[in-house]
């Protein structure tokens, strides 16, 4: 194998993409005639076909180096396994789809004049989809067919989709990186990009921000906010001295607490002032009511009020979910707030896009605000006494 050519290509790649240099040099080359082109495994070995090196120019090979290392940095094998587990699908065809989707995620900002895109590379538009998205997004939106026929030969190895390959040396082979070492390389690259983001493309900057601080899904955050608000003293299931415990009979003169349930009442105020779409509203509302129910709120303890004239979605949802719908006020959320507080709930949840004035004093109930995504300059600052979760 023309190793010198392959290493010259890696050097070119490292010069053109200095922020990926550490990751490129961490790859260990394995000569592998069985591999169609170049492929990686999850242990950061790079299997190279000698014939492929002979066929391509140094510049083309440099592009392939960057492409393959991107699969590993972006953990496509782990994400492929997660997708397979989540959707209960697996097999060669499905793994090929993962490889294609992973390529589509990488290829929209890997290449430029110094590292030209191969003629046969997968691009989002060759799948008829928009660029700038992630592997999971593409996976849900295309099937194998005539459009993907040109990519049937595609094989970036087990590092790109998680499916085992016959040439893989496996976890016990030489020069493999352990999970810990892989994390360390990823971390170094991310740290380098975050420290000097000068010339890295936006896709890589976003990756560097998120790789070790993945954003929490809003459902989890909303759930946490609601739970901690509702499970505070005086709500939910806990011990109370309001009535003596059953053990107290054997201990005359001592008061023991007893387990009591006082289910929290949750009041949801929905901003339906036109700028919130029905889909956004529906998903958030369903989530909140489901959590309210799980907290032990009986049906009559979760109420929804809409704060505008346009109540189609809210009304439909409330009828479907059998939630009492209370009448709304104007477009000013303060009125909705005041109406909600008159019902003396434990928790008030506001679902709004934030373009509203807020009450100036802390209300008597704990407040959780679900904010729908808007360009940030349109937000009115949320009050400090509310726990804010950004939805979407």
């Amino acid at each position: 194998m023309d190793l010198e050519k392959l290493y010259a290509a890696r050097l070119h790649a490292a010069r053109e993409r200095p922020y990926l240099a550490a990751a490129l040099f961490a790859l260990h080359v394995v000569e592998s005639p069985a591999t169609p082109t170049m492929a990686v495994d999850r242990h950061w070995r790079c299997y190279v076909s000698p014939a492929f090196v002979d066929r391509r120019t140094v510049r083309d090979l440099a592009g392939v180096w960057v492409h393959e290392v991107s699969h590993l940095l972006r953990d496509h094998h782990g994400r492929g396994d997660a997708y397979a587990a989540e959707h209960g699908v697996d097999g060669p065809g499905e793994r090929l789809r993962m490889n294609i989707a992973a390529d589509a995620e990488i290829n929209d900002d890997v290449y430029d004049t110094a590292l030209p895109m191969p003629r046969d590379a997968v691009r989002p538009d060759s799948l008829g989809l928009r660029s700038g998205q992630v592997m999971e997004y593409y996976l849900r939106r295309f099937t194998l067919g005539a459009r993907t026929q040109p990519f049937a030969w595609l094989d970036c190895g087990s590092g790109a989709d998680g499916g085992a390959r016959p040439w893989d040396l496996g976890p016990d082979g030489a020069h493999g990186l352990t999970k810990e070492e892989r994390d360390a390389v990823r971390f170094r690259v991310a740290h380098g990009i975050a420290g000097a983001p000068g010339d890295a493309p936006d896709g890589w900057k976003r990756w560097a921000e998120r790789v070790f601080h993945p954003p929490q899904p809003w459902r989890a955050l909303l759930g946490n906010a609601l739970r901690s608000a509702a499970s505070a003293a005086g709500a939910g299931e806990d011990y109370t001295y309001r009535r003596p415990g059953r053990r107290a009979t054997s201990l005359p003169g001592v008061v023991l607490p007893a387990l009591r349930r006082s289910p929290p009442s949750v009041c949801v105020v929905v901003d339906t002032s036109g700028s919130v779409s029905d889909a956004e509203l529906g998903s958030a509302l369903l989530e909140v009511t489901a959590i309210g129910r799980a907290l032990g709120g009986r049906r009559d303890l979760v109420t929804v009020m809409s704060c505008d004239a346009r109540v189609a979605t809210v009304g439909r949802l409330c009828r479907a979910e059998d939630i009492p719908l209370a009448g709304g006020g104007g477009t000013d959320m303060r009125e909705g707030f005041a109406a909600a507080l008159r019902r003396r709930p434990d928790v008030v949840v506001m679902l709004t896009d934030g373009q509203t004035p807020w009450p100036s004093v802390r209300p008597a109930a704990r407040t959780v605000v679900g904010l729908f995504p808007r360009p940030s300059e349109e937000w009115v600052a949320t009050p400090p006494w509310a726990r804010v979760v950004r939805i979407g």
Binding site: A8, K179, Q216, R247, V254, L259
Partner: protein
Amino acid sequence: MRVMTRMRNGNQLDTAAELLSLLGDTDTEERRDAQLDALALAVAADLPVLLWGEPGIGKTAGLTQLAADLGLPLTTVIASVHEPSDFAGLPVVGDDPAVHGVPMAPPDWAVRLAAAGRGLLFLDELSTAPPAVQAALLRLVLERRVGALTLPPGVRIVAAANPRGSAADGWELSPPLANRFVHLQWTHDAAVVVRGLGGVWPRAVLPRLDRARLREAVAYARRAVQTFLTARPGLVHRMPGADQARGGAWPSPRSWDMALRLIAFGTAAGTSREVLSMLVRGAVGDGPGLELLAGLDRLDLPDPETLLADPVGTPLPERGDLRQAVLDGVISAVRDRPERERWDAAWSLLARAAETGPPDLVVVPATTLAALRREEWDVPALIDRLAGTVALSRRAVAA
């Protein structure tokens, strides 16, 4: 007639017992298990451990192995079936409460543990207990007190909780409490379980502390944490933000102290980087933990000055990215103190690197080193050994 029936039933139960003993007849094989290693070290270090794991994946089995290995009796208490007074103590009214007060009597298991003076206490299902029970339990974990009784230092305590899923009934630990625990994620390995159901369960080989390395381990851990926090003072204390995973580990002076202790224990046991990573990330959180480990990697690399003193004999790391980091360090050292001997030593090191590993990562250091040349310095003869590298570099430029 009745006698006959009893005979038959008795035989049935004997047969059932036989079948059960056949089912229980399993082999074990030695196997290293990183998460059990991490748990063993955290328990040895006497830090409060919180295991996060789904129900039914063998947390108790792991603890049983650990208890057997440490020679400690295991007491399991399932938190969700107890009342708060079981952990806070039951009030016992004496003759004159106003004079003597009301002592809080501990439950029998705590008395037995205290009498034995040693043991492993496992508090399971912390997350499904009502808040008042959790509060009483946390007092037990963090202050080692049950009612009026203080558990002796020979008792080690491990708690377990089910992770909050995206389900509506999840559980969250408040940041002040989360900060006091070493959080370990407990997962199962499908292959191991399948093999176990086939009759061969793994027997963990637990880490051993090496008496000869204790001093060295303490010095290493102190240097590691000190060097790191000097460079990143912002990480000494950082509360988890509103949109981050709450209820997990986060960095504070307290948790850094735990991390230091864990590094010392891991080093004294000569444990793998993977185990150390679990422990450190479990104490101070993922981001700061990974940064500290990256710092440890740098501490473990050969020192540039050592390499310049002996460029032929000092071993170079095998892995490309580490090798590149070492060469960069050497070139910086030469740039800081440019002397003829050091410059020559760096060249012979580069030549060695080009001959013993991928040549492409030698190019950039070689170019930088060449630029450091003074007028009166001759080009060393061994530059010919880098000819291949030069050719490679030309090909890359021509691309």
